[in-house]
Symmetry: D2
Subunit: 400 residues, 4 copies
């Protein structure tokens, strides 16, 4: 029997802003009404602003981020295609698994969990692929399992340097709308996200940015799909409709969420994530604990994976937080289970929430037996937030 | 600028009951929490009651009913499989299209829109298929485009009579939870529905009933899929989890909706649909208009497709209803466009809603130029509801 | 166990529009915040537009319409003051009772329930009151119990004709925001309403229009009050605050409701009420039943009190509607109990709702044993709505 | 443009639990329906459990806590009655003002803001009042402006010791449902609260506990009232109705809130408030700041008024919290303005919220120029919550 707010600090679904929650509190409506496009057409434009694409298109699939992964593959690649994938966390691992299930032949570059995309190695492999047998490069922009952000621009650069024709797939599920993401500038062909992270909604929509190159590929490819078929979707979308019944409350929520992002300004949203993430990291450092991301440049501004002391089971920290403190942190996934807990700090997030996360994490750690100085994390984060992080510009610099 | 309720009489998404709406008004939560199964596990049991299966399993895919169509196919059939499909409306047509897109080889039996499943012809074809080359029979239980309900039991009977091994796929999107549907008794192997019809929720969930025979088939088949993979889903579902983030507000809504069905009693729900549909049909008859379903036995208790007089464009009826009367009816789809409008009368529905639908349809018809006697439809329906439909048992009989 | 919408046709609380419902779905907030006036100050302006006053002020009391009655009296009159009141229904009766409880000495003019304000008699009494011993005239603009609208302008005229100084109190609870009401033009000094009628919100706010003359009176009067004290309220209101914690969700709802009225246009709202009320009345006439309001000019556009046949108990009609049809009509109050049921048709209301009300009333009447021709009411109303009520201007004329 | 939760730490309205928020998201309904009592009658019983009365009655007035103050006075006292009131904060001051406005003659005992009820002095005055000319004693149980809780039991004892017949009025607005309050045991005759504090709802209901002695007094008294008349209210309440339209969403919310209190257990609720308040106080002490309540025994478990350093304006702390940190604290009222900010820690409240309040207060203090050691408050509170406050029983003891 819990009193008070349930504190949610998982890296998605994230906290839904009140304006979005209000917007979703609607009765059902006719998804074939003449004016349905008044609701939906602006969503595509709004999402393109968030993806930073003017040349590409954006599609919305009822489903999850995983839906958008699958839509990206099945529309643009062919059975047996060689694809180059890097694996450095649970979600990049699952994407490899999906590629295999869908009949691709992934060339997998494994790097330690905690590292980011090995763009030099990718460059080497692509450089040797003189006949462009590799049809796509897959990169997880922000590996949610490890809290590692990767350098997509560097991947694009090495691809360009060897004039490689492969499509660039980017999993931006826990980055788009929160971290700097530039679909057009980075030459991303398939950019994947979901509704439940930076877009601040419940799960239920898989969202895909598709470049003109990817659209061209989709017209020639031979992989089977029906629900995810780009052609069907585009045919309906151009007038604001969907090939099947969409979850309209989420579309209303998306309108409100895009409105919030526009009102704050996307770059301000990104700066806010940087400012608050730095506070979280300083708090973790003050505890004397490590974070999984190995280098400062890899540390994600949306999720921080904290290594607990060897003497403590992270699952116990999570259990105490959940049962005693009405607070959810992200668990350590797969090989990180028991060693790590994750703090999600993305989406609708502010100073108070960052400090709540740190203070409850401290309390749970101590109750679980960790020798963490109570108050230290909050003190460090508060110091940063009070003194270091005065202006958006300065603070992003200061954080780096 | 509209005042008052938006009247929604489309055959889905249907009107969401207040209890379901309340239930969905929740903040986000951790879909990996230890007690998440407390929410989800009872949903599977509840859905099995609605599907009337004890031997099969039920799966919930974030997506739409179309998702569940695709999941059913990709998990149990093989590329190039011959499948026997009947086509008698827009949704059975789309299912054929999907089958083709996914690499099946449909043998299509076309019958007029307005007819139901041609089970005799299906029996003949299966009878000739001595080597069981046909791997599946696809039947649309309730063709939403025409308002035709088909006899699934008869299909099962002809399959049994020739000892055919094909899987039986049934699209129950606009029937399950509203019409008599008996997965186990009728030997349905793959039963498809969505959240936005008889389950009285917004769109966003594709729901699938899977027989043991279908599960066995899923272990041997070679069609590609990942998002829809039964094995992954079952692996997670057994503990109440999902392979990817589910839309938790919908799961809360589903719990409430199943609670409403249980409280009313599924058979009472079915009888209510029969009682109210008979009222709608008597109203249409009193207008002097035809309904698309050719025979009384084919007339659906969830949706009625009304043929407008030749002198009237059904699109104009729909436009007037929507723009002037704040009321949505279903449009005529594909070849029925302009000739038909559809009244959805399923899900959370009662006498007042049935009479509202008729009275607004009358008004829109007359404003569109149809010579319909105002009040006649309501009079006929009210007469039925006042006198004929006294008890659930009697009224179902009376309606037949 | 009811399925489907609960149909609400009582004369308040009325149906809350979705935009208002969304707006009220808010967390709590600080009612002393520096920017609280951003929410509240525009409400006063918006209400003044609805009251049609530019010279007066508007106050919002957490409470009910009855609160505003009491606030009006206790701030402007003195113990023992003679006041002239007309009694022609339950609410005018209750107002007399309140006046007595608060120590006034009402001179009560009783007229039959079904008649309106006896302005000639009021004129006669005031004309004889040469010394202005009567301090106030109380008129119920729209008597919700009988569905009678009274002629406030005529009252003002007779007051002016004898140069009488009495304050004019008007109960506009079921009129303001729905019927033509002109506080300044009619010289209303105290105009009372509540949130749950034409303002389309839940109950919880008593709202009062106060003329400059009434404000002047409030500075000299000696009646005791604290919660309702104008001076306190005005002191806080001028900066957008309240002397005690207001129900902020209702204030958000009020903002949304005023926005809807502005968007439709107040005069269009009034015309809509006239159009739909005429439909209701034609429906009742087609049943062969009488309405309580004795003359056409007295018939309210917000509520219609229908006399049931002598052989029928109106309570049984109400019971059947409620229990069997999930529909609430207003009951006959006090001396009208059992003889009358009332149809509320105000606030967020449209054609479909009017026809639903008639069709369910017919059904309940017939089930209760009344010899009412099923469908006749809907036919008559539909005929009016289809043919007679084409344009706002014409229809108001046509209705008169 | 704020992102993330609005943090609300004012002493009312308090944070509304999700279950209550869901419960209030309802359409309107007929407040005269036959089954309305199914909703309302259990509310009276539930409130009696919260007031800890079995002998008294509870009434619910649409309005605010101030409404209930007025109802208590106008129903049980007579014009010109001498009443004994203690004044030690803004709300006790306002109650005196109301008593004067309503025509009582208060004998006011002023004690410093920060002190509690001067029960010895009250005893002395009552002891000298041999003829029981003093008709009532008014005590503010928890003075929300100063965070001082007073000893009601001691007041009762001194009243009993001189066999005084005065009625005992207690303002329990910020105590009932959160602090130990025993209406019957302490012989409270009129116990006042509102919906927006310990009852965890929006404002909108004034709630009153009335002893049999007070009910008897109400039958003989001569003060004027109508809206608040006990007799009318009881006449309707006995069948579950109200004399005027109640705000039904709040009644649904109240049902949910009482359900939460029952589920947690009222004594556990009280213990939780004690535990968390002690954390807040330890945090304030760690900042080196004083709280207004002068003695440990006076320190409220629902609200803590913190004195800022002389060099800092508390209004600036509040402004920074609100504008920069999306956080509302209570302001210093009247003579405490600028010197004090208040932390509300009542109602739906937990560890995370307590730590958020402290961490944001620290940050705002530092940004406003106070020399407060960042993190110190959270450290002290966390230490208490981690180590000292293990079990409900122990922690209450430990806190004292």
């Amino acid at each position: 029997m819990h009193s008070g707010h349930s504190h949610l600090f998982i890296p998605g679904p994230t906290n839904v802003p009140e304006a979005v929650r209000q917007a979703m509190n609607v009765p059902q409506q006719d998804m074939r009404a003449a004016d349905f496009g008044d609701l939906t057409l602006p969503l595509f434009d709004g999402l393109k602003r968030v993806f930073k694409t003017t040349e590409g298109e954006v599609m919305i699939f009822p489903g999850s981020g995983t839906s958008a992964w699958e839509a990206a593959i099945t529309n643009t690649l062919n059975p047996g295609d060689k694809v180059l994938m890097a694996r450095y966390g649970q979600f990049s691992t699952l994407w490899v698994k999906m590629a295999e299930m869908l009949g691709l032949e992934p060339i997998v570059v494994d790097v330690p969990w905690g590292a980011g995309v090995p763009w030099k190695e990718i460059g080497r492999i692509l450089g040797r692929d003189k006949d462009d047998e590799i049809k796509a490069v897959f990169v997880t922009h922000n590996e949610t399992a490890t809290g590692v952000v990767s350098d997509i621009e560097a991947v694009r650069r090495v691809m360009d340097e060897c004039f490689h024709e492969a499509l660039l797939f980017v999993d931006g599920v826990s980055s788009i709308g929160s971290l700097d993401f530039r679909m057009d500038q980075w030459g991303v062909d398939l950019a994947v996200t979901g509704s439940q992270k930076g877009l601040m909604m419940p799960a239920g929509l898989g969202i895909l940015g598709v470049s003109q190159k990817a659209l061209a590929a989709s017209k020639a490819n031979t992989m089977r799909r029906a629900y995810y078929d780009f052609a069907d979707m585009r045919q309906f979308n151009k007038d604001g409709y969907f090939p099947y019944t969409p979850p309209t409350p989420l579309l209303h929520g998306l309108r409100a969420a895009l409105g919030l992002i526009d009102a704050e300004g996307l770059d301000n949203v990104i700066a806010r994530h940087a400012r608050l993430a730095e506070g979280i990291r300083r708090g973790v450092a003050a505890w004397g604990l490590d974070i999984v991301a190995e280098h400062r440049s890899l540390q994600s501004n949306t999720v921080t994976a904290v290594r607990v002391p060897d003497t403590v089971d992270a699952r116990e920290v999570l259990r105490i937080a959940y049962e005693d403190l009405n607070c959810s942190f992200g668990s350590g996934l797969a090989r990180l289970a028991g060693k790590v807990f994750r703090i999600g700090h993305l989406g609708s997030f502010n100073e108070g929430m960052a400090l709540t996360a740190l203070s409850l994490a401290e309390l749970a750690l101590v109750k679980a037996g960790a020798k963490v100085p109570l108050g230290a994390g909050v003190a460090a984060a508060s110091g940063w937030l009070a003194h270091g992080a005065q202006t958006p510009d300065k603070l992003v610099l200061a954080a780096e």
